[in-house]
Symmetry: C2
Subunit: 603 residues, 2 copies
């Protein structure tokens, strides 16, 4: 695949590189005396010089040689003595939206940690604003050096027929995205049941991707590593980040599938299989590292791929193999190894210097030959992006948010009624289809804070007054007050939960007013607010500030009585109709095993 993520294609500058390598043209930069991590041979080569020109590596002085012949009067000299040089790290699967900032601010956050490229699936923005939203994100991305490589979302909506989203992407759209230079593959094909049952929509999306000579990235969650996994791979899906165990990982590798080993903010899979993988001694060339999601707090406190490498090494993987999984293996998978993934002549000068290969503290970072970060600071400016109006006006609620919308009418006399509630448990993404008793007063179902039963409303925020909303209950959060958020996978409708209507109305209206985000309200007072005006998903602020705001919301949850570890994340998947068991969309309850709608009142 032609790589568009470089300063110049090789064919436009190879004459210069040939001259630099032979000392006829001075290099732009010479990095002296590093410990080169040779990902192609799995070696560390001490005392190595690297000469850069035209945004690419022109010359690597193997042991016994120097790059002194490449140095001219204007050549920038860097002393790398004692430092390890690796190719720039990449993330094989990431949703930028989890960081709650736009691509350029994301870049400012992760590049100082040694990340030079990401394979991003803008699934969340696409659910709100479709391909136009994706395009707007990539306009922002193009302003910064980070290589933000696009894998267009394959599953918008994630599940059809059970909710209302802001957009719909089909195979024709996918075919169109495959003509974009930004596109390097298809985003995670979550609809594996659709693939296994040969449904037209997912299969056609796969076909359009293969026809365009690009890879189909996957998402396969089941313990059937036999027939189902074979079928999924035979369909053309060639990678997957959803492995629950070493057996899952091994089955994928044996069947020729790239296994994306994940350490996200929320999904900490690495410890679950990496030690066994190391012990097995199998070839790891099809192993890729990824985060999938990185919350703002994680980026600010722990970093990005450097954090994944630290954990991988801590779990017993040798540092060079870990680097291979974050560089060469990935470039090979996406068909970009001619340009990315190694420090070698002709390849893009995406290089990181590290103190060591255990702590992975990035000292200096180059992208396309340009020094872009040093000692933890980005050296490039990130001006606020001028998001177009359609990206910042996505709370299309029309006149839905009346106080009466929060009434749960029923035809029962005063007393109690048996209703369905979504049962949640700490640390488990699966929910339960719980039957609980709630009070009935004046023909309305009521919350029951004494028994930890909260009201839950989901408002379609994409279709104005024509939109619908639904009523349900949740148990397990244990709060007094109300919370609302527009980060609500995957349709990102407006989710409002509370034990009293007044706080719920205030929470909902606060988000409507600011364009979306997360809010905590108690007794008529806003305790904490994260404003996410871009699609109700992204802040326009700095990642450090967003991290602080998210912490305040987390603190508010605690203050309101919640004991869950990351309650806003648990709340954020209450509508996620592709994961069992009971979920609530704007259309009502969905049983996510049968994909049938379920009534609220049981008896």
């Amino acid at each position: 695949m032609i790589n568009h993520y470089c300063r110049k294609p090789l064919w436009e500058c190879n004459d210069t590189l040939v001259g630099v390598a032979q000392g006829q043209i001075p290099a732009d930069t010479v990095i002296k005396d590093v410990r080169l991590v040779s990902v192609t041979t799995h070696e560390v080569l001490d005392h190595t010089d690297i000469a850069l020109a035209e945004g690419r590596v022109a010359y690597v002085a193997l042991p016994g040689h120097t790059a002194d012949h490449c140095i001219g009067p204007k050549t920038q000299l860097v002393d790398g003595h004692g430092l390890y040089a690796t190719p720039g790290l990449m993330d094989s699967h990431i949703h930028i939206e989890s960081s709650m900032v736009g691509p350029s601010e994301y870049a400012r956050g992760v590049v100082p940690h040694g990340t030079t490229g990401i394979y991003a699936d803008p699934h969340e923005v696409a659910n709100v604003r479709g391909l136009e939203g994706v395009r707007a994100m990539w306009e922002d991305a193009e302003r910064v050096p980070l290589k933000v490589m696009l894998t267009p979302p394959s599953c918008v909506p994630a599940v059809t027929g059970v909710e209302d989203t802001g957009a719909d992407i089909d195979a024709t759209d996918i075919a169109q995205t495959m003509t974009w230079p930004a596109t390097v593959g298809l985003g995670e094909m979550m609809n594996f049941p659709g693939v296994l049952s040969d449904e037209t929509r997912p299969m056609d999306e796969i076909r359009e991707t293969l026809k365009a000579d690009r890879v189909v990235t996957g998402h396969y969650v089941t313990t059937d590593t036999d027939r189902g996994l074979n079928a999924y791979i035979a369909a053309g899906v060639s990678s997957c980040h959803e492995s629950g165990s070493f057996d899952d990982v091994l089955a994928k590798l044996r069947l020729g599938m790239y296994a994306q080993l994940r350490l996200g903010s929320a999904w900490l899979n690495l410890p679950g299989y990496l030690p066994q993988l190391v012990q097995s001694g199998v070839d790891t060339r099809l192993c890729l590292l990824c985060t999938d999601d990185c919350h703002p707090n994680t980026i600010v406190s722990d970093g990005h791929m450097d954090r994944v490498l630290r954990e991988a090494v801590r779990l017993g993987l040798d540092g060079v193999t870990a680097v291979q999984m974050a560089t060469l293996n990935m470039a090979t998978y996406f068909g970009q190894a001619q340009d990315l993934g190694a420090i070698a002549p002709g390849k893009c000068a995406d290089i990181v210097l590290w103190q060591d290969l255990t702590d992975f503290q990035a000292q200096m970072v180059w992208i396309d030959g340009r020094l872009v970060a040093q000692e933890g600071k980005a050296l490039f400016a990130v001006e606020p992006f001028a998001w177009p109006d359609f990206m910042t006006h996505t709370m299309e609620l029309g006149d839905l948010l009346t106080p009466r919308a929060f009434d749960f009418p029923c035809d029962k006399p005063d007393g109690t009624a048996k209703v369905r509630a979504i049962g949640i448990k700490a640390g488990d993404t699966l929910t339960q289809d719980a039957i609980v008793e709630v009070p009935v007063q004046g023909g309305k179902l009521q919350a029951d804070p004494a028994h930890d039963i909260l009201k839950l409303c989901v408002f379609d925020r994409h279709h104005g007054s024509k939109g619908t909303y639904s009523h349900g209950f949740a148990t397990g959060f244990g709060i007094h007050g109300a919370l609302a958020q527009t980060v609500s996978h995957d349709a990102h409708n407006l989710l409002v939960m509370g034990d009293n209507d007044a706080d719920m109305v205030l929470a909902a209206r606060t988000l409507e007013a600011c364009g979306g985000g997360e809010v905590a309200v108690q007794d008529g007072k806003v305790l904490a607010l994260v404003e996410l005006p871009v699609c109700g998903l992204l802040s326009t602020g700095r990642v450090e500030d967003v991290a602080a705001q998210v912490s305040q919301v987390q603190e508010a949850w605690r203050q309101m009585g919640c004991k869950l570890p990351s309650p806003f994340m648990t709340m954020g998947v209450m509508s996620l109709a592709c994961v069992p068991v009971l979920r609530q969309t704007n259309r009502g309850y969905v049983n996510c095993l049968t994909f049938q709608m379920e009534p609220l009142v049981v008896e």
Copy 2:
């Protein structure tokens, strides 16, 4: 890169594969209970079943499972008990012409040895008949199951300005070949001096290849593994089969270049570096195996890539790694790993069953799901190819072959003269610029058999009566009689050598009459003849018959007094102007260090 070497692209048959994997559609073939060589994990998986459909692998039963659910009434069942299953072997760099048969007959020869794909550079035919000749070869190739993947020749002529060839291929031609579905990369860029000095022609050919998103294969012969090698790689050349030592190989791997480890009929490099490579423990994912050339006798007696694997294992490489180097690594390099190089769902069913991984005796061979060879026999028919006239009428000598052409006139009186002679040594491709004394009689230089000095004539056979011819001497062959051949790298002009004019004329005319080949003549009698009427390079017969004829010519050489191991090969490179020191083309002597023409008579 889109792979055109399959029965159907995956996007046209993935629905069927999904059905087969899940037991809803019966497989075409089920291979039961093999020891699967998993090249992706570097494992051997015992008791594995493989189900095939649509020419692809639909399902691989990992340990604990079977493919019984894929078996229908029409499914072909194969018992693989105790046999090893590997992906079909490939040859990463081969000139079919060295086998002296056309592609289809070549296929008949090598497929029973487990070869399912070759990356072929039709450099020789192209020197005679240009791209039209290449196209004709590929028409023949398309009639057989072997995947004959084209890397168009980059260096026709190999060296400009010192000889006359039948064709000329420039960057515009290369750009055109890059649009052909058959093309997978650029053939070996032998003009490395041109690359290092940034000459337009080779650099433009590289650029056209990179723009077409294909790889540039290399040929880099020098001990400068520092600046020169860096420059060559930075130019965009990503593989090389010309390594003389382990240091060469290691330098290439470290600089991100694929190292093609060679065991040809003539070039036996493997022992020279493989043991050290094994001992070094470096990552071998960039190592590819190749033969470069395979003489008919080698194919008939020893095989093809199976022979290379045997030798690799004998030299200490483990069998699975050896298989990786002949399958997965190669498919990855050429951008075809989505379809080739592993036995995994969705990939082409190119599969070989072997008795073991040391002797590598192929038992059964499938290509695109079709059983194509069994117990050493090809199961597909190879009808003689109807070569077009322009391919079988290439002895365009006009009226050059008069007896007077074999007179070596000089302006010396009777006596002796000092002349240049090409000195050759057993087992060395380099020649010497020797000064010898020869008799002068009646104004003509004479051969001197008593001192092993033979006359050597090179006739341009591409330009009819307008062509030129040259006179020279050779020493080291030690024969009485004459030999002629049109296999004469790289222009493949007519080479005639002997100790008397009468035998030389007969030898030359014999080849003119039969369309080219190799002939041995003594005392007015043709001792042996290999007819190669296609471009003067390829027989229309069976590879076994050609091998027998070549042996007869070899026997004739011996009978005529020659003690060299493969004298016709040594003779075949007398005109090879890209290898030092002294060579003779149709224009005369060339010093291949200075690329200056040199006079015959010294004093």
